[in-house]
């Protein structure tokens, strides 16, 4: 019997608190994250309809200092967004953000000044139908998961079309509403092929190299994977959104282990309870990890009731130090893991 336990990441901390206002510290349905060379976390807040005027990117650090935020509000004007999905840095540390409703990519400086945007609705070159995941390689080539066109498109930073691959389908090399996308240190492109319940791995020209996962909730399975990231050793972290978990695979696609979430109180949450001690007292005597009745034993229901677990783990990001950041849209927070 093989009793070898895989090397696992270790839970580090939780950052975030629900932001019910319109700006300031906290997150509102965060949808993606990238971490700068300086270690600052850029968190994309998609915001629900009631808070949509505050669609923004919030910037904080691992010490939970909320540094600044930027955005131009809800709409289709310059710098504005409606349904932002993903963000990435270029080589100048500028930030590109996809918007699946406005069908465009918007470029900001790292301080948040609007620079430009490109893209329009359509099926041709330079057009999108729901741009979702975005990643930029070391040569500033932009890769976008053009979800409803079921393809990956390549652009220059300025929006000049370079190439594309993929079409709708479930065979290798085809896609069904692709979402998250990343590039590993060997230059392989990983795509969370959302409705095909798998991650497909390509070279930068779209030649298929590997397929990870299949539909289901077992160890090797995925259910609507939304995000993917790769660490320095080649381990692949998949936001297994439909199963409310993170699946970790080795460089050859072999299953390694699962993360289900173990959130604790962030500093911002501790600050909240400091001024609401009555809630803290009740919380202390409550069992926040109860056993649930049979009819609620689905991943979604479990996550909606057990606060430490991931709920809506929509995106994952591995930073230069191999720390893993898991973005939870429904819990308005980021859980951070670090190498053991």
């Amino acid at each position: 019997m093989n009793l070898k336990v895989p090397e696992r990441l270790r839970y580090l901390k939780t950052i975030g608190i629900v932001n019910n206002g319109f700006n300031g510290r906290g997150f509102a349905n965060p949808y993606d994250i990238v971490v700068s060379r300086e270690g600052n976390m850029f968190v994309l807040n998609r915001c629900d309809p009631a808070r949509r005027s505050a669609i923004r990117i919030g910037v904080c650090n691992l010490n939970e200092d909320y540094l600044y935020e930027f955005g131009y509000g809800f709409g289709d004007g310059p710098g504005q967004m409606v349904w932002p999905v993903s963000l990435a840095f270029d080589s100048l540390s500028r930030v590109l953000v996809t918007d699946e409703h406005n069908n465009r990519v918007t470029l900001f400086t790292s301080k948040g000044d609007y620079v430009s945007h490109w893209g329009e609705c359509g099926t041709g070159q330079g057009q999108f139908d729901g741009p979702a995941g975005i990643v930029i390689d070391e040569e500033d080539v932009v890769f976008v998961a053009d979800q409803k066109n079921h393809r990956i498109q390549k652009y220059s930073i300025d929006g000049e079309f370079i190439g594309q691959w993929g079409e709708r389908g479930s065979s290798e090399g085809q896609f069904d509403l692709p979402w998250g996308i990343t590039i590993d240190r060997q230059g392989k492109v990983y795509v969370a092929d959302w409705r095909n319940d798998r991650v497909q791995v390509f070279d930068k020209n779209g030649e298929i190299k590997m397929v990870i996962g299949s539909q289901g909730d077992g160890e090797e399975n995925l259910n609507r994977p939304s995000g993917v990231s790769v660490d320095s050793s080649g381990d692949v972290y998949v936001a297994d959104w439909g199963n409310e978990r993170i699946q970790v695979f080795g460089r050859n696609g072999e299953f390694k282990y699962t993360l289900r979430g173990e959130a604790t109180l962030s500093q911002w949450a501790i600050d909240f309870f400091a001024s609401n001690p009555d809630e803290m007292e009740q919380r202390k005597i409550s069992n926040l990890e109860p056993e649930l009745p049979d009819h609620l034993l689905t991943a979604y229901h479990i996550s909606s009731q057990i606060e430490p677990f991931f709920w809506g783990p929509v995106s994952v990001h591995v930073d230069s130090e191999d720390k893993l950041y898991v973005v939870e849209s429904n819990r308005h927070r980021v859980q951070v893991y670090e190498p053991a």
Partner: protein, 469 residues
């Protein structure tokens, strides 16, 4: 009444209105077979949750009322089991539980899901599940109903509003009923009740609720309830309730008023008598009672047709289904829940535990304007896939150039069929005539001819008859 008109009548009542394509499919199966299909739902075929959740963060988290309402409206609009959603809407009105006190939309939708699961089954099982439902427990304070200090709220409403009606029990029965439900609460009830009362979402959004039975807080003493003696618990009390003639008549009457006619006539009473009989013969099966009702001659008669004012939710969902709107995730759904509220039926937000006052009370000057505006806007848009389909049928029927009379009669037929008063028809024809010649020679939605048909559909949506089910 033609077979087509009868099927349309059935689908307005057992569902939310059917498109012409759907009506033709149902007609091919026949009336009674369709009733059976409605009563025995299969796969709902509604818009899948993963698609909804991917685009609508609010409908994934289900923290807020508007997002939760929009989520349910998506299901109503896209379901292929319309009675499953309609019966859930019926129970939502009868067992009215509202967001205002709970501040917990997820719990409300879990309750609606429970109505889908049990809403066509045993009334006894449904009442047991209702009594264990976390949203109901918090709504009517059963979390404060303790062995040493009872809270009568749930026990009273269970008898008065949910199962038998006033006059069928005594004040002592209420107290004994409340005792039987002591210990029926939610997990972490103190913390959850505090969060609900403070509308606290911190630190990480809502924590959903689930039922918990606390044996140490349950009154095990002997009780006297509706003339019976025993150390009853909640399930025993419900077993006694459902055996009562009053419960059978209460349930049958409420079903009749929701599905058949706002006003119960002496002829209607005879149908209710049959429903009561079936209630006991089937051992409280709701689907069996509905079967008797839908297959009754009274339901199929002209008397029952247009004998109800459409509720706002019926109106919104029915119009959206005809127009083919909201069949895919769209940002426009964000405002859909608000439409039901403007019309007087904010889904998941009934005004009180008594639910909504229905029938003619749906109509006041403000609500009527909202109803007409919404329907006219939907049906008056030739870009909508459902409207395009209607225009294509009309084009085929009248060889591309209908007269004003043909256009009005054709549109009335295709959105219903709807029968309107002679005066209404004359007004519609006058309007259609004012549009000038109608040439339908292209499928371009922006073409003049197709816009004129859409304008006529829009005008039909503003008629009195369109507001009736």
């Amino acid at each position: 009444m033609s077979d087509l008109a009868l099927m349309a009548h059935l689908m307005r009542r057992a569902g939310f209105t059917a498109t012409r394509d759907e009506l033709e499919e149902y007609l091919a199966e026949g009336y009674e077979a369709t009733v059976e299909k409605l009563l025995n739902p299969g796969e709902p075929g509604n818009m899948p949750d993963d698609l909804i959740r991917r685009y609508h963060v609010d409908q994934s988290e289900l923290r807020q009322l508007d997002g939760a309402g929009a989520y349910w409206l998506y299901r109503m609009i896209t379901t292929q089991n319309p009675l499953e959603e309609k019966i859930a809407l019926f129970w939502h009105g009868l067992f009215a539980t509202g967001y205002s006190k709970l501040n917990q939309a997820r719990a409300l939708l879990n309750q609606i899901d429970m109505f889908r699961t049990y809403g066509l089954g045993s009334f006894k099982t449904l009442l047991v599940e209702l009594s264990k439902d976390p949203a109901m427990i918090i709504w009517l304070d059963n979390n404060d109903n303790h062995k040493d200090a009872i809270n009568e709220n749930y026990g009273r409403e269970l008898l008065e509003l949910f199962s038998m009606g006033i006059g069928s029990y005594t004040e002592d029965d209420i107290k004994e009923c409340a005792k039987a439900f002591t210990g029926w609460t939610v997990k972490n009830s103190e913390y959850m009740a505090m969060r609900a009362s403070k509308d606290s979402i911190w630190p990480y959004g809502r924590i959903a609720w689930h039922y918990e039975y606390r044996e140490d807080d349950h009154d095990t003493s002997s009780k006297s309830f509706l003339g019976e003696e025993g150390s009853f618990d909640g399930e025993d009390v419900i077993e006694i309730i459902v055996r009562q003639e009053a419960a059978a008549r209460f349930l049958s009457t409420r079903l009749f008023q929701f599905f058949v006619a706002d006003v119960v006539t002496s002829e209607g009473e005879l149908v209710i008598d049959e429903m009561v009989r079936e209630y006991f013969e089937s051992e409280y099966e709701i689907s069996a009672v509905l079967r008797v009702m839908f297959n009754s001659e009274y339901f199929k008669s002209d008397t029952a047709r247009y004998a109800r004012v459409k509720g706002p939710v019926e109106s919104v969902v029915g119009t959206a289904r005809i127009a083919g709107s909201y069949a895919e995730p769209t940002i426009a759904v964000t405002d859909l829940w608000a439409q039901t509220m403007y019309m007087g039926q904010g889904l998941l937000a009934p005004p009180t535990v008594e639910g909504w006052h229905e029938g003619m009370e749906w109509i006041d000057s403000g609500a009527l304007v909202e109803r007409v505006n919404f329907a006219a806007k939907e049906l008056g848009n030739p870009d909508k896939p459902g409207v395009q389909s209607l225009i294509n049928r009309l084009t085929e029927q009248y060889a591309g150039s209908p007269s004003p009379e043909e256009m009005v009669d054709g549109c009335l037929d295709l959105v219903g069929p709807i029968e309107v008063a002679d005066r209404t028809r004359e007004g519609l024809i006058h309007f259609a005539t004012s549009l000038g010649e109608v040439i339908l020679d292209t499928d371009d939605p922006s073409s003049d001819g197709r816009k004129k048909v859409a304008d006529t559909l829009s005008m039909i949506a503003s008629t009195r008859e369109y507001q009736l089910a």
